[in-house]
Point group: C2
Chain length 729, copies 2
């Protein structure tokens, strides 16, 4: 058994139950399942209808306080009249209930001992064990194992074993597919029907966006025949003392969005061990290219692997119709929608470990380009404007106008992601066929979004940068710099195609109807778009207006730091105060490190870090990255631990509504950029761009990982002597 | 019959029907009724349930496109889950249906000729006459008269007459109280019951805010006994050729908010003519003190009287629990809520013609002071912050945060209104008992709302001034000036009480817990609150950031001027463009004329008028007022006609969802400030403050009116020789 690959939950505490459901979430890139109990929790209704408030995810009170089932397939979305498109919580096929000596198993109401749950990060298998001491005096040892197969993405396997420990006991199990589920309190099923066969139960549901989802379950038992009564599997059996009974439930999910064969028959004849092995083998390969080995600090090692596990489960190579939602498909908090998190925070992990996935993440953006054009038109602009919250079409799904209208950097962030991918992989075919079109259409949008002033300079007014506690920036530095990059990249890619592939060049210009006049506009706006004079101010101001705002006595207002700062100040005041939700200028430093001197980055850090609340989970690890560069070792440790506390440590209850998957992705960037000192591929070199700095957090002796660089694998080790890179095989 | 007191509608055109329902709205200060047909319009369902969009009143599409019943009592509000508090559309007691020779009267489906509707502005009586040519060949001449009594506010009287013109005809009428009504598509009645007596039908409804509303109708007929069948009055009668039948329906409304006697029995014995006369006598007195007589231009005369009529019907002297809603209780467009319109646009009319009403409008603010304090607390501020949209409690009812959070000038506007009332009436008792408390509590709020900068100056960031197309001003001049006034007035009123009435002074300081330190704070912030250096810039800039925004090619974007400009530009772009919804700096010029030189006001006008769209109805008449002061006579005419076209002229369909009652109020200010050249009472003089200018719009020969000035009535005449003021009796 490999060391530091298992995470444990050894007590059953209702207060932290939802957190573990999210933290132990399973998935294989196709289907995702929160780590809820097969039998549910007594008294916790899952089919409740209610109106979910959409005013602020940060401060709203979630319903279903103790347990929230979650069964998701990312391409299957529903239409919520208040919230717009949301990922649908599908019928619950993990359903499995036990009566022992007539007593219904219930984790909260029965006498349970020796509880333990283990998630094996190495293969995504979840195991729950406990002893059920019935009122009648029986002692039943129970073990539940389960995993979604990485080999056959439609398959989910469960193995349940009961053993009578102290005497004979009667057991009865029922298991079906529970259709009494809602999503954000809303029923998205127009039709739903349960049918049974000799050996299976099938639920067919039709969503309110017109998709058909089919889920079929098969149950086998080693001791007794399985009956189907009232659409549920039923087995009754008298266990002898020390006898064990085992159930294998195989569930298949598929939708009308799928084309491939599912191969149910083939899977049904395989044993649990065979299926387990097949799944583990696929995972093994993924870990081989993605693992980061840390020597000297087991806690941090497990934390980093926890992040990598969630990144690995989130995506399978062939999927190009969806991106990765902000909660890693582990909860309903952001409705299964896609943000800038994908391109800026998660994409680099895939770029450097599995570029096919990176490419498919970007293909999702190409596939929603028409929606982004429609979105631009809805603002009376030409070109393409990607939505702040994206779902199936690329049109805006965010129901709060201040984000939808103002958080425009997402459009340029996507171009940054495309170029990052290209620079690290040399995949010019992707640029020719897809990327260049996005780059030009988005550049075109900016021509309409900028406002020219009387000096002939271009401005971006009313902008929300990464820091969402300042909704109305005038010339937000982050946004302006990214937009400039977007425009310059458009000019560059056109020139590149013109010089290297005339056919591709003509095809592109033809398709996007680009002429020289517009190209000159790109150039002009890129040049004249307002940016600070860093030489003069010696730091990166957030915007032209932010630093005029009034100071806030943060310590005095924010005494109970268990709650976000945002709970103690109204949005009205936040929007005009010198207090940040998250890194803004420091996010720019992270993306364009070589724009600035280390001194300027340091000044920026000193200026903004004290007024940053980290109410956004994107903030701490960004700070850790930059803190390393400027030699603030204590801050590296502090913010690394902060980052690990978001989901991995349970004390914040952080994963209850899903995983902060952008934080997971950025933790990987922390490893390469700050620990190893490898700069990102946008810095225009043929060799792996190395900075002189590296960082070793507290207790870390050695770090080693593989990295893909322009199709070649390198092996990187970092220790107290610095970073060593060797070309791999 | 007095000349120029009647407004007519002589064609029945479905496209303009809703406009006339609003324009001919009746009311007596207690109850308000849209000028809908007694029998409704076939196919126009009034009880439809739908979700009203609240995103933008300016651009939303209203439901009930052809007719919208409206029966309102201002203190009766309901709770709409999307919209918050809304005025309730009550059961429809005007209900009266006719079958002639078995054919149901329907204005849109039957053969109708000689249609005419007349509203007598002099006494608020509405008359509809027409001829109903039945399919069977009968010609029925019909006349419907009705009025809410100004003598007994609970009483509404209807008189309906039918005459068989060409031959005998059978008629059958049914009349009840129709409970199938909704408000903004929502049913606000928790319980509703209809009961009948020998001679009456009574509906008792219980609102979702817990109020009980009782409506009773009595029907009399001069020819035949009235039966009650299925909760409706029913009369069948064979009319001989040339015979006439008359019905008198008296309806009484009262609620659990009322204390006074209703006197139903006494009213039932009176004849229609008696009731008519009683009503007319009350109106006569109101007109006597309020009329503005214009010689030389009948159109404008009638237009001004139309405005005065609506102001007179909106308020009765004794009502202090409500203000005047933005649509003059003539439609559901602004949900029956109260805005700054009351204090800035309507209040002066009452101050100078009927100060008791002015006082009661301000008493409404005093009665909602606790709500305003709660509102301040919800923003973590001390003191009182009046809500942008106020209803019964004084807490915020606006469901759009950008208005609720940023349009803070309302709080200082109320103080302006209080002081205006005091300066014009010398009612120091009102100040002592109520006004001073409001003035201090609101001043206190500003101490928490301002932000100090590094130079020690005070700023108001993220402010929406009067111009709602700029939601995020930095130091909006209008707002800052009004806030400065609020703070200075607080200092002044404290000093005044201290010097003139020690008991009142101590009582006040005790009640509001005011000490000298806070008073010094008021003074300091008033002094250091940022205002432009007018000497230097020579105009009134809207704010510090507005004039940096990009120019907009308004003419090119706005070709179809039937629609508001706002339909051709997104809010996102409006919020960062140099285009105005309404007067902002010019509103300040209107309120603080003597702050500026005429040259500065003129420069301001030249600067902003060309980029003002007047998408807000508050804008045109404000422009007319200022245009007169700076000698732009053509603009005076243009904006006066614009103002008259909002509701009075029907071509814009302007009154369909209610009356622009603030425009009506401001038209009166136009008469006194611009036509007569009387400045407002805030200019600190004992005499009526006269400017040297006066203005005569096109075709006007002479204007005369009465005005109350510190309890003395003056008679004012203006002609081509200027303004003459004589002390009245």
């Amino acid at each position: 058994m490999e060391k530091n690959f298992r995470i444990y939950r050894n007590t059953f505490d209702m207060d932290y139950n939802k957190h573990f459901e999210g933290a132990f979430c399973q998935g294989n890139g196709y289907q995702f399942l929160r780590a809820t109990f097969e039998e549910g929790i007594d008294g916790e209704e899952q089919g409740e209808i209610y109106t979910r408030e959409f005013k602020s995810v940060t401060t709203e009170k979630q319903r279903c306080a103790i347990t929230k089932w979650g069964t998701y397939i990312p391409t299957i979305m529903g239409n919520n009249p208040q919230l717009n498109e949301v990922i649908i919580n599908l019928p619950y096929f993990m359903d499995f209930n036990l009566l022992a000596d007539g007593e219904k198993l219930s984790m909260n109401r029965c006498d349970i001992s020796d509880f333990s749950m283990v998630l094996n990060l190495k293969n995504g298998c979840l195991t729950r064990t406990f002893t059920f001491n019935t009122k009648s005096g029986s002692t039943i040892k129970a073990k539940y194992e389960r995993f979604p197969s990485k080999k056959n993405k439609h398959l989910f396997v469960q193995k349940i074993t009961y053993k009578a420990e102290n005497r004979d006991a009667n057991i009865e199990i029922t298991s079906g597919i529970d259709t009494n589920v809602t999503t954000n309190g809303f029923n998205h099923f127009m039709e739903i029907s349960t049918t049974t066969n000799d050996d299976s139960i099938t639920v067919v549901s039709k969503s309110d966006m017109g998709n058909t989802i089919t889920q079929s379950s098969y149950l086998a038992c080693d001791k007794e025949q399985v009956n189907i009564i009232d659409n549920k599997f039923n087995v009754q059996y008298d266990l002898k003392e020390n006898e064990e009974i085992t159930f294998i439930k195989k569930s298949f999910s598929f939708t009308d969005m799928d084309n491939e064969e599912i191969g149910i028959e083939g899977e049904l004849v395989k044993s649990y061990d065979e299926l387990y092995k097949e799944n583990s083998q696929v995972w093994e390969k993924l870990w081989d290219r993605s693992d980061v080995v840390i020597e000297g600090n087991d806690h941090d090692q497990l934390g980093i692997r926890f992040s990598i596990y969630h990144l690995l489960r989130c995506k399978e190579e062939s999927e190009y119709r969806s991106s990765i939602c902000a909660k890693g498909f582990a909860g309903e908090a952001y409705y299964g929608r896609y943000f800038w998190d994908s391109e800026i925070f998660m994409l680099p992990f895939y770029i450097y470990t599995n570029p096919n996935i990176a490419k498919n993440l970007l293909m999702y953006r190409y596939n929603t380009l028409e929606g982004a054009k429609e979105n631009a038109r809805s603002y009376n602009c030409k070109g393409a404007r990607y939505p702040w919250q994206s779902a199936t079409t690329g049109t805006e799904q965010c129901s709060l106008w201040e984000y939808a209208d103002n958080e425009i950097h997402i459009t340029a962030d996507i171009v940054y992601g495309i170029w990052h991918y290209y620079k690290a992989t040399d995949d010019i075919e992707f640029i020719k066929n897809y990327g260049a079109e996005i780059i030009v259409e988005t550049a075109r949008f900016w021509l309409d979004r900028v406002d020219v002033d009387k000096d002939g300079n271009y401005n971006l007014f009313n902008v929300m940068g990464p820091d969402e506690y300042t909704a109305f920036n005038c010339n937000n530095t982050f946004t302006n710099r990214l937009v400039k990059f977007n425009l310059e990249t458009a000019c560059y890619v056109i020139q590149l195609l013109n010089e290297t592939d005339k056919i591709a060049y003509v095809k592109l210009c033809d398709k996007v109807k680009l002429d020289n006049k517009e190209l000159l506009e790109f150039k002009k706006v890129a040049e004249k778009l307002i940016l600070p004079d860093y030489e003069k101010v010696q730091y990166i101001p957030q915007s032209e207006n932010f630093d005029n705002y009034a100071d806030v006595d943060i310590d005095n207002l924010w005494k109970d730091r268990k709650n976000p700062f945002g709970m103690y100040m109204t949005h009205e005041k936040l929007y005009r105060s010198k207090v940040l939700k998250q890194a803004d200028s420091l996010s720019l430093a992270m993306l364009f490190k070589t724009d600035f001197t280390i001194e300027q980055i340091k000044n920026t850090y000193e200026h903004y870090e004290p007024i940053t609340t980290h109410d956004s989970s994107l903030s701490p690890i960004n700070h850790a990255i930059v803190a390393g560069w400027i030699g603030k070792e204590e801050h590296v440790n502090k913010f690394l631990q902060y980052s690990l506390s978001l989901d991995f440590d349970s004390n914040r209850n952080g994963a209850k509504d899903g995983i902060h998957i952008a934080n997971c992705g950025c933790m990987y960037q922390f490893i390469i950029h700050t620990i190893a000192g490898i700069d990102n591929a946008l810095i225009n070199e043929d060799e792996i761009p190395m900075s002189t700095s590296y960082t070793m957090p507290k207790g870390w002796d050695k770090v080693s990982f593989k990295i893909l660089w322009k199709n070649v694998s390198y092996f990187v080790t970092v220790d107290k002597n610095g970073t060593k890179i060797t070309k791999g095989i």
